[in-house]
């Protein structure tokens, strides 16, 4: 990529931080570690979460965009995203603590996604197709057209989905499909999820669970 694009990227990151608005409250990772004591039971000390087959999977938070984490916590508190467990824990955090834990988890090195290893070749191939090219016959746009190349996330709005647990990804897509989750901007995710079959959801969840979530992680593997 040429120099101009890189400098533009830098500028955009600046803009996206500013436009975070209320979410741009400065977080402190050290304070965040203390506030995260209640998070560890599910999300683990290293932020890796856990894939729970046939149960509720706990998402990896390590290395997720901080502003994205903060927005989700605010949304749980405000009832704009529903989860019986999370609303309890989110309500324990004030605005500063939300900023702090978000910063804390965003700085952690990414951990691998689980739950995709047992998927067969055909399911993974379908997952890769949806991730990289979509299925325009069904007007399913590719995941990476918003979640970025490799599904590694774009800014604070489109979270990294690669290296996330399959159980969590599929639960969220199903929630969007069933309209039990709708805290995305302009229904961008909901509109797509509604066109995905259950098999599509399983496929893309398995695919991204097996993919590196950052270039650093890609190099390390």
């Amino acid at each position: 990529m040429n120099q101009k694009c890189l400098s533009r990227f830098g500028l955009l990151m600046g803009i996206s931080l500013v436009t975070g608005g209320a979410l741009a409250q400065q977080g402190d990772a050290e304070r965040g570690q203390a506030a995260a004591a209640t998070c560890i039971a599910c999300h683990q000390a290293d932020g890796s979460g856990m894939n729970v087959p046939n149960g509720e999977s706990w998402p990896r938070l390590a290395g997720l965009n901080g502003d994205y984490i903060a927005k989700q916590l605010h949304d749980f508190k405000a009832g704009q995203r529903q989860n019986a467990t999370m609303v309890t824990f989110a309500n324990m955090l004030d605005d500063q603590q939300i900023a702090d834990v978000a910063e804390y988890y965003s700085q952690m090195p990414l951990t691998p996604g689980n739950g995709g290893d047992e998927a067969d070749e055909a399911l993974l191939a379908r997952g890769q197709q949806l991730a990289e090219r979509g299925d325009w016959n069904a007007y399913i746009v590719s995941c990476q057209s918003c979640h970025g190349p490799g599904g590694m996330g774009v800014g604070s709005t489109f979270p990294g989905v690669a290296s996330q647990h399959a159980g969590y990804i599929s639960a969220q897509l199903t929630a969007w499909k069933n309209e039990t989750r709708s805290n995305d901007p302009q229904d961008l995710m909901g509109a797509i999820a509604k066109r995905m079959s259950d098999n599509d959801i399983q496929a893309v969840s398995a695919w991204y669970a097996t993919q590196p979530g950052s270039e650093a992680q890609e190099t390390a593997q």
Partner: protein
């Protein structure tokens, strides 16, 4: 609007009203069987182009397969030609969504079955390669690969292969061709309303300043204006073409979800922003606008004065990243020795 040299009504007349019927919801397939369609009675050519999976499963020559695969790759990642043929942040698939296959997103196979034909924009008969070259000069703010080059052959092979099974020179209108604009809105398109609607509906991806978005140095969302966008000679600077693109395709994944008013307002706002100079520019924006008015700029805002800040659109020497490089195809004389009709 009162300070504009040309009233917008002229731009609006370009919009097509013939396509009011499309499919409002994508249930199972974008390309439903013709007999299942409400528009079957309209007697249009409905063509479902093959997919890349079909390519892999087909028995065409493996060498041709790999050339078509290369054409698809160039089409969806045109940035690989950055600095040689492409001098902005666009891919072919930035405007032709769904790999150039999707109805109402200017599906590119239509060019393969309707060309060679006379083209109003450059006033002579164009073939498929020349048509693709036009996209490079204007929409990609670049310089086309040479006729017959590997890149040009691969791109045209991809176009033609997408047309597999469709009749050459069809005698029926093509379903989903181009970017049909929605009906004219109740109120004339307005810059301020357009700005508000843009910030509400578009900025989350394309950014408040229209610069699009790169992530980790890789392209994600294309810029609707500015140096990274198409230049003033690209088809999509025509207000009605922009309105059609937006209405039929945006926000991504939600075709035909915006109102006609919002669509036209946003299109007016975006096409009222600066972008690289038209490669046909002769050094004077008013003269250039007049020279190419009848064939093109009567539908754009090029050369017009923006009401809120008195800025004359296109009155600059900024050709974007390509600088002084001239696209060789622009203004190239053709068929000079043929007797006129």
């Amino acid at each position: 609007m009162t300070t504009c040299r040309r009233p917008l009504a002229i731009a609006l007349t370009g919009c097509s009203l013939a396509f009011g019927v499309g499919i409002s919801v994508y249930a199972t397939s974008v390309f439903a069987q013709q007999e299942e369609r409400p528009d079957a009675a309209l007697n249009m050519l409905v063509h479902e182009p093959p997919s890349m999976e079909d390519l892999e499963n087909s028995d065409i020559h493996p060498e041709l397969k790999s050339v078509i695969r290369y054409g698809h790759d160039l089409f969806t990642n045109t940035q690989q030609l950055r600095g040689e043929n492409v001098f902005n942040d666009m891919n072919c698939s930035s405007c032709h969504l769904g790999e150039g296959r999707v109805p109402f997103s200017a599906p590119v196979w239509a060019a393969a079955i309707t060309l060679p034909d006379f083209r109003g924009k450059n006033q002579h008969v164009n073939n498929l390669e020349e048509r693709i070259a036009g996209c490079f000069a204007y929409s990609m703010n670049g310089v086309p690969p040479a006729y017959g080059s590997d890149e040009m052959l691969a791109l045209s092979a991809y176009h033609q292969w997408l047309a597999t099974g469709a009749p050459m020179y069809p005698d029926k209108p093509i379903y989903g061709r181009g970017f049909p604009a929605p009906d004219e809105p109740e109120q004339a398109p307005d810059y301020a309303r357009g700005e508000t609607a843009y910030q509400e509906n578009c900025a989350i991806c394309h950014q408040q300043d229209g610069s699009g978005h790169y992530e980790n140095g890789e392209y994600v969302f294309p810029p609707p204006w500015g140096d990274g966008s198409n230049n003033w000679g690209a088809g999509i600077v025509r207000v009605d073409t922009m309105a059609g693109f937006i209405y039929q395709n945006m926000p991504l994944g939600q075709p035909r979800s915006l109102s006609a008013q919002d669509t036209w307002d946003i299109a007016y706002y975006i096409t009222s922003q600066e972008r690289p100079q038209d490669p046909r520019y002769n050094g004077d924006v008013a003269e250039t606008a007049e020279q190419f008015g009848p064939t093109f700029h009567k539908r754009s805002l090029y050369g017009q004065t923006r009401e809120h800040d008195d800025h004359v659109l296109g009155d600059h020497d900024n050709f974007g990243e390509k600088g002084d490089i001239k696209p060789w195809n622009v203004g190239m004389p053709r068929f000079e020795n043929l007797p006129g009709e």
